[in-house]
């Protein structure tokens, strides 16, 4: 049985390459058919905001890549309810699906369920 890995993405999409680099870990693992999960929390939930205008910042939008995660074998996607609420984001209008929105105690249980955890 391969070990499961939870990738916790905590950086906003435009604060540097971190969001992209967390995504790259997921895509690389998906290519090896590994059991992966990805949790967006803290400023990482901003990656899930719809209608971002990356061009205005001369950046590349990673929304399409996030939406393609399930096609690359990464289907267990989670977002932190508290982080969404703190930033005024509604769980029903996010750009990525399927996505499970978890309360704090469920996040503790989620982390516990995975063999390894990597936070970026």
């Amino acid at each position: 049985m391969p070990k499961s890995l939870l990738i916790i993405s905590r950086q906003s999409p435009w604060s540097g390459p971190s969001a992209r680099e967390a995504l790259d870990i997921a895509l690389a693992g998906g290519a090896f058919d590994l059991p992966l999960g990805m949790l967006f929390m803290d400023d990482g939930v901003l990656q899930l905001m719809p209608s971002q205008r990356a061009g205005a910042l001369q950046q590349k939008d990673i929304t399409a890549n996030l939406q393609a995660l399930s096609m690359f074998g990464v289907e267990d996607l989670f977002a932190c309810h508290t982080s969404l609420a703190e930033r005024g984001l509604s769980p029903t209008e996010l750009s990525v699906e399927p996505l499970q929105v978890l309360r704090d105690q469920d996040i503790a249980a989620l982390i516990d369920r995975y063999d390894q955890v990597i936070t970026i």
Partner: protein
Amino acid sequence: MKFAIALYSPAHAPSSRRALLFAQAALAGGHEIVRLFFYQDGVHSASSNVVTPQDELDVPAQWRDFVTQHQLDGVVCIAAGLRRGVLNTQEAERYSRPAANLAEPWDLSGLGQLHDAVQAADRLICFGGP
């Protein structure tokens, strides 16, 4: 216990020094390090071009000596390295860049090496993250 160690911070960050101390303590305690994986700004911790003031700890040199002495598998992520200008001779030539700043004992390789280490290790320990 088998450890995989991931480092995300450059040489001047306290977490780079902590990662090194952890790695040294792991081996001293009889544990195994299956791989060191330098990602994000951690690639700078492997650069041969860091010049540390004489009265400060030369973290990149300490990493080099540590990896060489214990014949560890030290991997620098190629995508993160290219983005930040940490290149070995081969990549410097491939992209027509004037200099290489990554040498032995480091290997420039892909994220598959991180996943492989995650599979081989009992614990993945990360330093320098948010």
